[in-house]
Symmetry: none
Subunit: 405 residues, 2 copies
């Protein structure tokens, strides 16, 4: 029995509020000074909170597995990242800010150079982003519809962009099962977008026409005269936050990718711009209208990805200064964690367990002296799979009945 | 492969004795003083024992899940509480002290008021226990048998009682799959006890006759003139302690419910009354005759359920004074733990991991300074699923051979 099946019959509703703050990529590693980013940052408020909270470290997917943003968030949202895999096309579309519907098929695209029927450059000489954006706008202008399917283009970085095929009516669950057309090697012909299931034939027909039409539009470009497609996918069927956990949930996030991930699990995802302080203002403003709040703080991760140790620590210190504003709301359950670790040392996501802090009236507390990797190791939550955070949140919110008599 | 399948081929017999003391609901939370019940109690003996034992915290069912007594005990007995679910009728019958056999179907009943074919009161005005007891005795008197099925009635509190239908010969595994007859709302007609599987038809026929006969017996009662039935169930098929672990096991428990749970897993369960000291005397008396002893201390939980922090702490202190008598026996493996937490703060069972202490010649020790939640967090057993306690007990008793060459 999986976790969601176990807890579903135990759910009960009440007025308790749960706030989950995700400091993206919060987990780190020591630099030459021997301190991690969390230890180097100035965090009197987080440390005081850790002293009266239940702390631990969560393993996002599995030991040794470095999660992308998709699996990282799914885990802390209470969805098994190994069961709920999200197609690359969908993730790309969400990341580029497209609103993806149930009947959409999303695909990642590259501009490429084709010559005499073979791919001469899979990235069209890494088209500069400005030029790529213009090309994508032109494609959108020229290809609005193929048969009864609406096409939506989203420009990306350099040679990359995404396309949504918006089908009218319903799509079968495996309709997006198409093979990639990128031959993965220069000097080879592009592959046809073959249907990998009977249900996918309707989609492959549109994909073939799209590739052909795009080539017609681009044929006079020197380099970017062709498109290669990968990761055809549609929205996975995932029970909503309300179905799975009985919670009316709001996502507070300024980056489209994270709103997209929240939308996947049925949170409301209003468009929002601004700073972390603006996010907290929005949290206050909407506090009466929801049961669960996911607040995403992106910049911690960005500096980690750049290998900027001081920058990452400074973003943590900044959040610490704002934390009292969140505490003023006095949520029944407050969780502060990350979706994965991003040690500046590694300039990227890593597999390291992620500090997690849970504040409620029902914790032991008085175990950890600060919010850091080394202190969380000692904590009462231990080292636990990310998937267990949501049932703990519900339990501490007194939203789960007893199991068995 | 589940745990029992893994260890079965590794079992070896020897003369080692394992004593498992279950302090029901032992886990707690801090009160205003910052101390938990275990920390507030006077426990020099438990603390000294913790210093030379392996300590940790066990998760009875899963993170965030509050177990009832059934799943709580099954886990520490080494049975997966998610696989071995015990029907409500069986638990009720066990709790009321009935001896349940393999061919019995148990059902929870309510006295109810029926008027013009609809249920006017699902609890018959909460019949006082004394009156309800008399009614149940009358039902037993008047309905001893239906066709070839013996009926056994057990009076309960207020409007509640239990009935066992004792079928001659064998019952198919899903024979007890009947729908509830309680419509769950006043003003509705009672539902028929429908068979939910082909095999259940034999049982539903008896259930229908039982309900009709009971109505005939009760028809002149002002309020309690009808019975509603819920939770039809029979004994789950669970391998016995001897089959699963190669142990001849004795349950030492004064409450019927816990003897019933021990009986489910094939322990011997002599009727016993008295204090914890009486339980320990019984343990001494039977010490040569068994391999495994489950000793249940109920009162710790009862005070927790009442929200009586000092009372719970006092029961723990009392047990501490008696502990040397258990230690005198010098069992090869001694485990002290609970089936779940019952923090006085919460006045009920909770999901919090439960302190566990394992004493044997093969532990590290010298890690935890006391037997408490916060000290056990540091312990060498870590935070572990309850299901792992039995294989650890067997290993420390040198009753498990090497796995693989």
């Amino acid at each position: 029995m999986n976790m969601q099946e176990l807890i579903k019959p135990l759910l009960q509703n009440n007025a308790a509020k749960i706030v989950m703050v995700v400091l993206d990529g919060i987990g780190g590693l020591p630099d030459a000074s021997g301190k991690t980013e969390l230890e180097a940052a100035d965090t009197p408020n987080l440390d005081a909170l850790a002293r009266k909270s239940a702390c631990g470290l969560h393993v996002p997917v599995a030991y040794g597995i470095t999660p992308g943003s998709g699996p990282g968030h799914l885990g802390i949202f209470g969805y098994d990242p190994l069961e709920c895999q999200i197609g690359r096309g969908i993730l790309e579309a969400l990341g580029l800010g497209l609103e993806v519907r149930k009947t959409d098929v999303a695909v990642r695209c590259n501009y490429a150079t084709i010559k005499d029927g073979v791919i001469a450059d899979r990235r069209a000489g890494r088209v500069p982003t400005e030029q790529s954006r213009k090309l994508t706008e032109r494609l959108q202008q020229e290809i609005k519809k193929i048969d009864d399917v609406e096409l939506i283009f989203a420009p990306g970085m350099e040679h990359r962009f995404a396309v949504l095929m918006r089908f009218p009516g319903d799509l079968k669950p495996d309709a997006a099962m198409l093979s990639d057309t990128d031959p993965q090697k220069e000097g080879k012909a592009p592959l046809p977008p073959s249907a990998l299931s009977k249900n996918a034939e309707r989609v492959s027909a549109i994909a073939e026409k799209l590739i052909k039409k795009a080539h017609e539009v681009l044929r006079n470009e020197e380099k970017a005269n062709f498109i290669l497609t990968r990761g055809f996918s549609n929205m996975p069927h995932i029970p909503s936050f309300r179905e799975a956990f009985g919670l009316k949930a709001l996502a507070i996030a300024t980056y489209p990718m994270y709103r997209g991930l929240a939308k996947l699990v049925g949170m409301e995802t209003p468009t929002l711009e601004g700073t972390v302080e603006d996010e907290i203002s929005f949290l206050k403003q909407k506090y009466n209208d929801y049961d669960f709040f996911f607040m995403h703080v992106k910049k911690v991760d960005s500096y980690g990805e750049d290998g900027n140790f001081e920058g990452k620590a400074a973003r943590i210190s900044e959040f610490d200064k704002l934390l009292p504003q969140v505490l003023e709301l006095n949520p029944d359950v407050l969780i502060i964690t990350g979706d994965h670790s991003t040690p500046a040392l590694m300039k990227g996501h890593s597999w390291h367990p992620v500090p997690v802090l849970l504040k409620s009236p029902y914790v032991l507390g008085n175990i950890c002296s600060a919010f850091s990797e080394r202190e969380c190791v000692k904590g009462e939550l231990g080292i636990l799979p990310a998937l267990n955070i949501m049932p703990l949140a519900l339990a501490h919110a007194l939203r789960l009945k007893k199991f068995g008599a």
